[in-house]
């Protein structure tokens, strides 16, 4: 346990002094179910974290706490220097600075791809339609689907939809990107195009927290891999250490099951 907390709190900042995310003794319950148990994790700027673990282990819950889609019952979460437990204004700020990509894409079905991308920048940041569209096209080109801008989400494949979702989040110029099983709802042949987009993003230095079962992605992209089970962080290690020499028995069991 000692080793875990040591690595978990190791500062690896690549930018300013504040870490991107700092979680201290975070606890959350659903009724009597202990969803997060004394979670401690510090994520440096520009760091790429992959979170894995069996289903129901609290991975999604943990990253959903970072932008307050879930509230916590005790502990402290500081994102980009803003303490979330202080509530109100800080929560709004954090949501603007973190982008999230969901398993089910959650694109707005009644809007075109372009409108999906321009809505939040216009309504939240108050920029003009022309500016927002320019930014949107820039990011749609980056995820390699500018030609789909006028289409509705239902007219796109799953992989294309998820890339739009990534572009939509990037349009807010987030400092941190949260990925909640972004490839789990995709047909196998579409997983690669989404992972490639995520790799591009990682190479550009984006701070990323990814809940994923794509162990190849974890190995090649992650700076650290976090293993969770039953609401606890059991192990935090570099990919090499994590895959080649897992410390915890439950980590070994998990890795044995998925490989």
């Amino acid at each position: 346990m000692n080793m875990v907390s040591e690595i978990a709190s190791a500062p690896r900042s690549r930018g300013a002094s504040d870490p991107a995310v700092r979680m201290e003794d975070v606890n959350k319950w659903y009724g009597s179910f202990h969803a997060l148990e004394n979670v401690n994790l510090t994520v440096g700027r520009g760091e790429r974290i992959v979170i894995c673990g069996p289903s129901g282990s609290g991975k999604s819950t943990m990253i959903r706490c970072i932008n307050q889609l879930e509230t916590i019952h005790s502990g402290r979460i500081v994102v980009d220097g803003h303490d979330l437990t202080a509530g109100g204004k800080n929560v709004d700020l954090i949501r603007q600075e973190t982008g999230m990509v969901f398993q089910q894409f959650n694109l707005f079905p009644h809007m075109t791809v372009l409108d999906n991308c321009t809505l939040a920048p216009m309504k939240v940041r108050g920029i003009t339609k022309a500016e927002a569209e320019e930014t949107a096209m820039k990011f749609l080109r980056r995820v390699r689907i500018p030609e789909q801008a006028a289409k509705y989400p239902a007219q796109l494949s799953g992989g294309q939809q998820q890339r739009v979702a990534i572009a939509r989040a990037l349009c807010m110029n987030p400092k941190i990107m949260l990925f909640d099983e972004p490839t789990s709802a995709l047909d196998p042949e579409m997983v690669k195009e989404v992972l490639d987009t995520m790799v591009d993003l990682a190479n550009e230095g984006m701070t990323m927290l990814c809940v994923t079962h794509e162990m190849g992605f974890a190995r090649s992209v992650a700076d650290r891999v976090v293993f969770m089970d039953r609401g606890e962080i059991l192990e935090v290690a570099t990919p090499d250490a994590f895959f080649d020499a897992p410390q915890h028995e439950r980590t070994r069991f998990f890795l044995g099951q998925i490989s």
């Binding site: 949501r95 603007q96 089910q104 079905p109 509705y152």
Partner: protein, 218 residues
């Protein structure tokens, strides 16, 4: 003394339909505003709002429309306002419509997947914009058919306003019948006019429904 049910009598009934239409329109407009508020309160995070909206809906769904008309009509009288069937009927029907539309629209709002609201929130959109731009436009698509269905109920429901002395289609029919004693002809005409008001609405509802679902198919 008995008049014959002729062209003039027929026209008098037809003209009275304008009051049915006016009453329905005002009640529906009021009910839309009230219904939206009730629906938003029903799905609110604030417990007090939810409880109030639930209570409001229970009361209006659990009592006959006629009693609601009576209570507003005589209630206004007791509280010192002049007896005015127009105002009483409008208020009662608008409240009635608020409760029913509120409950219908609550269902439509809840039918929009939770992830839509979450995606909007994660993008930094606050309550107003996430409702206005994301949730409600999708809820409306689902709401069209049941809303028009309720509007048809409401138009037929306005006939009860005749009992508190509001002269609309039904009441005019009664008046003409008292003079002509041709109940089958008179009420047949009245019923036919109600049908002509309601049936096209059902057709419009069906057309709007297909148009909406084509534009926003998932």
């Amino acid at each position: 003394m008995i008049r014959v049910f002729g062209w003039n009598e027929f026209l008098v009934i037809v003209v009275a339909a304008q009051w049915t239409i006016a009453l329905s329109a005002i009640a529906f407009a009021g009910g839309s505003i009230g219904g939206l508020l009730i629906a938003l309160m029903r799905v609110s995070d604030v417990r007090a709002f939810r409880l109030f909206a639930t209570g409001f809906i229970r009361v209006f769904q659990g009592t006959p429309l006629l009693m609601q008309l009576f209570l507003v009509f005589f209630g206004m009288n007791i509280s010192g306002f002049a007896i005015n069937p127009w105002i009483a009927a409008t208020i009662a029907l608008a409240l009635h419509a608020s409760a029913f539309l509120g409950e219908i629209w609550r269902g439509c709002i809840e039918a929009v997947p939770k992830g839509q609201r979450e995606a909007a929130t994660a993008l930094g959109l606050r309550y107003y914009h996430s409702m206005r731009q994301v949730v409600l436009p999708q809820a409306i698509r689902i709401a069209v058919a049941p809303t028009v269905g309720f509007l048809v109920q409401l138009i037929k429901g306005t006939s009860l306003a005749s009992i508190i002395g509001f002269t609309e289609l039904t009441r005019q029919g009664q008046i003409i019948n008292n003079a002509t004693f041709s109940p089958f002809l008179v009420f047949g005409t009245v019923a036919a006019i109600y049908f002509l008001l309601c049936w096209p609405l059902s057709l419009v509802a069906r057309r709007m429904e297909t148009r909406f679902s084509r534009a926003t198919a998932r």
